[in-house]
Amino acid sequence: MLFSQVAFYVLAVIAVASALGVVLNRNAVYSMLSLILNLLSLALFFLLLGGLFIATIQVLIYAGAVMVLFLFVVTMLTPGGQAPQGDDPLRWQWGAGIGMGIILVGALAWAGFTGAISSDAKAAGVSSLTSAITAFGGNTEAFGMALFHGYSFPFEITGLLLVVAALGAVTLGRRPTHADE
């Protein structure tokens, strides 16, 4: 058997077993560790399928950042301590944030109205992945060309989504202050 076939079967067994571990474990922390194993095996699957960059961000973002957040919540669900009271000490950040927002909106509107995004999409038009990887000189380069020349608007929308998610988490997570009562 070829190496890729052996790798496929081993990975398939690990992925399914760890997925079952997530569902069947009584303890949430063990489920969590099982899920990390599952995400790592999926990253190796992505590697097997030639997605070098996606496999890397799967390990970095998913198995790393997102799962650390998960583990924090699983282990620290009991709230403790008091939120700091009083005036917002970082009031100036409102101004800086509004300024940055205006710059971002302006840049996006400029890119949208001058047609830069759509013309880039036509020019790059990644139709063949293998030829794109050789043409642009690498896996990450091919992904970047496909993302920023064909899908830059969805990419910017994900930025908006992440800002909304962060604001939502802060709003949901904060304790009521004096002003609310």
Binding site: V23, L49, I61, L77
Partner: protein, 99 residues
């Protein structure tokens, strides 16, 4: 390996994830099962990208990753706030909206 092999693994993982959402009562584990389903779909996207020789599957996986990160942040915040008010996060107990 043929495309169908990857799609089979993806389907099995998705089914296990769906099962987890349906059978478990701990919202944290239900959440992990949702992550399992998202990743199963990511695997099929990657398989299609490889076999159709197109970068669009990669783009979709990237967007799914971002959406999943946002979803985890908001979902965990909701679970934490529920836990604060009830000190019990069994989903079967959360029936105060029952008619």
């Amino acid at each position: 390996m043929p495309l169908s092999a990857f799609l089979t693994v993806s389907g099995v993982l998705f089914a296990i994830g769906a099962l987890g959402v349906l059978v478990r009562k701990n919202p944290l584990i239900m959440f992990m099962s949702i992550e399992l389903m998202l990743n199963a779909v990511n695997l099929s996207f990657m398989a299609f990208a490889h076999f159709l020789d197109s970068a669009q599957g990669w783009i979709f996986v990237f967007l799914t990753l971002t959406v999943a990160a946002a979803e985890v942040v908001v979902g965990l915040a909701i679970i934490v706030s529920i836990f604060r008010s009830r000190t019990n996060i069994d989903v079967d107990e959360l029936n105060s909206l029952k008619g």
